[in-house]
């Protein structure tokens, strides 16, 4: 039983690490702010969930697992909110998403 939990936890940790890495590469390589934000949110949500659940399986039924669950809850709440706040600030300041054909610089008025 413990072996099964161990294997499950390792799988979760590895895929979590992979998701974090993929998101990081995306945040570096994507062409504009909003697409980068999209890539960064992969590391914040999927990567964090996988890694923290993997650690929870390692921790067993202890206070540590409860704290990890709290971390997971707060990350899941705050990181989309931060993205939302950032995106709305950028949009208000006039940064337009790529391919937005109704932006002020695109020339064709809707």
């Amino acid at each position: 039983m413990t072996a099964a939990i161990d294997i499950a936890s390792w799988i979760l940790l590895t895929t979590g690490g992979l998701a974090v890495l993929v998101g990081g590469i995306g945040a570096l390589r994507m062409p504009d702010l909003y697409t980068r934000m999209h890539a960064a949110s992969v590391t914040d949500s999927l990567g964090a969930i996988l890694v923290l659940v993997g650690l929870m399986l390692q921790g067993g039924l202890t206070l540590v697992t409860a704290k990890l669950a709290a971390i997971l809850l707060f990350l899941v709440l705050t990181s989309p909110t931060s993205s939302n706040a950032l995106a709305s600030a950028a949009l208000l300041a006039g940064t337009r998403p790529m391919g937005d054909r109704h932006g002020p610089d695109s020339g064709d008025t809707p």
Binding site: L13, G17, V20, G24, S79, L86
Partner: protein, 94 residues
């Protein structure tokens, strides 16, 4: 196996830092700082398991709670700047 996660995290930290250095806009840098913060939470959580001192997970919890304040401070900063610019413009008009 913890090592694999730690290596993935610190490589991602390096990538986020590159994004913060390259910019180009200030929002890209804020995004990079935010991403760096989440990676720090993960790194601290995994590192406390690696060191066998799981009770130090408190640190990751602090960052998970407090990183948010930085982003809100940035938002407030932008709001104040927009307001100030508007006030200056209306003064010029009047």
């Amino acid at each position: 196996m913890y090592y694999a996660v730690i290596i993935a995290t610190i490589v991602t930290m390096a990538l986020a830092l590159t994004r913060a250095l390259l910019g180009p806009s200030v929002y890209d840098r804020v995004l990079a700082v935010n991403m760096f913060g989440t990676k720090t939470v993960l790194l601290l959580a995994v590192a406390s398991f690696l060191g066998g001192r799981e009770d130090f997970i408190d640190l990751a919890l602090v960052y998970a709670l407090i990183n948010f304040i930085g982003v809100l401070a940035v938002l407030e900063f932008f709001r104040k700047r927009v307001e100030r610019n508007e006030a200056e413009e209306s003064e010029v008009e009047a």
